[in-house]
């Protein structure tokens, strides 16, 4: 599904990603764990198509095709979704209209009929149940006056509405209390199926307890330094990241 090969990327001449290689197969859920500043969010943003980074080396393939030359909207329409670490507030742009615009953009791209406002409202009222969000958030501006947890739920609502095949969740767990975390991860789990893949970026093992990852990667200083099974999360929780920073002490 997603294959990242020796990806190097810089901002203003400073190298952030120093050769990331990663392969997410169809139906798998991978997690990337790592400290602040290790490059996790940069990787997520680059996959989604943010153009403030310079790719100096390497490539990203989605369904076998390089996506580096594609606009963010094309990547999205082809099935890549990024749940933002800091969802953007767009005052005055109605949340439902925004979702409908996004949904219809994808339908247009796929050559399907667009959906009108009334039918879309029915559709969104079904989807919103998955994230147990109050209807009132549909009538507000995008993320306008939303708490941290509501913003994250809104991201997941967008995900289940757009039905991507490759979803990247960038620190979706940060700022969530335990109830909100359960709702969000329930939403994600309900959405999982053998044709969808996930890349979950997090600091903590906590969210992974709910999501049952297939593979865990540890990222330090712009590189994947370790890849393992679900048990790796617990080792990290116990020992911290320090034991991986010094290669002589690694497993």
């Amino acid at each position: 599904m997603l294959s990242i090969q020796n990806l190097h990327a810089s901002v203003n001449g400073k190298e952030i990603l120093k050769g990331v290689t990663l392969e997410v197969k169809t139906g798998e859920l991978h997690a990337i764990m790592g400290l602040n500043g290790s490059g996790k969010s940069t990787l997520a943003n680059i996959i989604a198509g943010k153009n403030t980074y310079e790719i100096t080396k390497g490539d990203i393939f989605y369904k076998g095709e390089s996506i580096l030359g594609k606009a963010p909207e094309a990547r999205s329409n082809e099935g890549i979704f990024l749940s933002f670490q800091y969802p953007v507030v767009i005052p005055g742009v109605n949340n439902t209209s925004f979702l409908q615009a996004a949904y219809n953009a994808k339908q247009r791209y796929l050559g399907n009929d667009e959906i009108d406002a009334i039918d879309f409202l029915d559709l969104i009222k079904e989807k919103i149940k998955l994230v147990k969000m109050d209807d009132k958030y549909l009538r507000r501006g995008v993320n306008e006056g939303f708490s941290g947890g509501e913003k994250k739920r809104n991201e997941i609502l967008q995900m289940v509405t757009l039905e991507p095949e490759m979803a990247i969740l960038d620190e979706t767990d940060s700022g969530l209390d335990i109830d909100a975390l359960r709702i969000v991860t329930d939403g994600v789990n309900a959405f999982r199926n053998p044709s969808r893949s996930f890349l979950v970026i997090t600091h903590y093992q906590r969210i992974l307890d709910y999501l049952n990852p297939d593979v865990i990667h540890v990222m330090i200083d712009g590189k994947i330094v370790k890849t393992g099974g679900p048990e790796l999360a617990h080792v990290l929780e116990e020992k911290g990241y320090a034991w991986l920073e010094n290669p002589s002490e690694s497993m």
Binding site: K50, F84, P91, G141, Q158, L162
Partner: protein
Amino acid sequence: MKLENLIHEKPLLLDAFPQWFKDLKQSALQQAKTFGFPHHKVESWRFTPLRQLRDVSFSRINSIKPSTSHPFENVDWQDIEALWKGKTFHQGTFLDALNIGLINDVHVLRICENNTADTPVRLHFDTLEEVFNFSHLVIIVENGIEAHIELRLGNKSTKESHFLHLLTHVVLKENATLNLIEIKQAGQGETMLQSLHVESAKGSYFNHYNINLGGGFLREDINIQLNGALAQVDLKGLFTPRYTEYVDVHSQVNHNVPNCESHQDYRGILNCESHGVFNARVFIAKDAQKTNASQVNHNLLLSRSARINTNPQLEIYADDVKANHGSTVGELDDEALFYMQSRGINPDDAKRLLIAGFAGNIIETLGSENLKNELRETLDAWFDFSYTKLK
């Protein structure tokens, strides 16, 4: 003759006018002659492209009557006299002085029955081309009445030169409400100015929308006198100039008594080489305790050549008040654009949504669905044109 030379015209003194009005007209032109055409050293005209205004030149003066859905009543000169008693003109009100000197009629709209946002009183000033159009309008809303008025200025399809100066007096009696929705939509050759004076009595509410959708030179001077306790004022505005259009809003809100509220929220979306001015001043008198006043002006510049002068000001003499002001000038938010693109929305549609959202803070608060739809469509067409042809 040029606009600045109209001070040499003879005032129109009809037999129907009472002596005090004839005196006022004569003295208005006399005063205008004494202090002369405004110049840039006068604070309220500092940013205005005065040459453009001074050079408007036609051979005829016209006293224009708007088309209306509600009959004007016969002038009760006592009402009018009360408005002008003890008033003098100054350089800032040069055009008011010209107006009073040169008009041959006063149009009085007295609202004694409630109406709704969907059935407003409609007024339209569709000006004659190639003449100086002046008009004086008096709107009186009686005690406890809730009125909706839609005031349209200009002719959007004209290519000719037009000039309109409208002097409007609004009198809100006790507990009266006026929703005044003013839409200026005109061609490139139109110069339109409104001087709006509002006197608010106890418990009254003035809800004003000043929507500027096009015109070569648009200016609104708003002067609000909060004279009775618990009076409230909302001044909301939107301006969307493009080409070399100029839009100017000068507001002066005087809190003369305690316990009044005034809120101003203006949004500007400026394209091409257009120029906007927002100059708002709130004055809170020594006795006007418990005043609640706010002023905000947010601007979106869509072109590097567009500019805005924004200057909200507070002048406070009371010590127990709540007052704040602020303004922002920015471009379309790159983070928001990327966020929308990452949801599959192409950049043009994303920009369209952002602009609609920005303007929506004003438009979506309107009471009439029809009007909201009309303005959304106008803005959409504006966007299409701005981003396809003027990009």
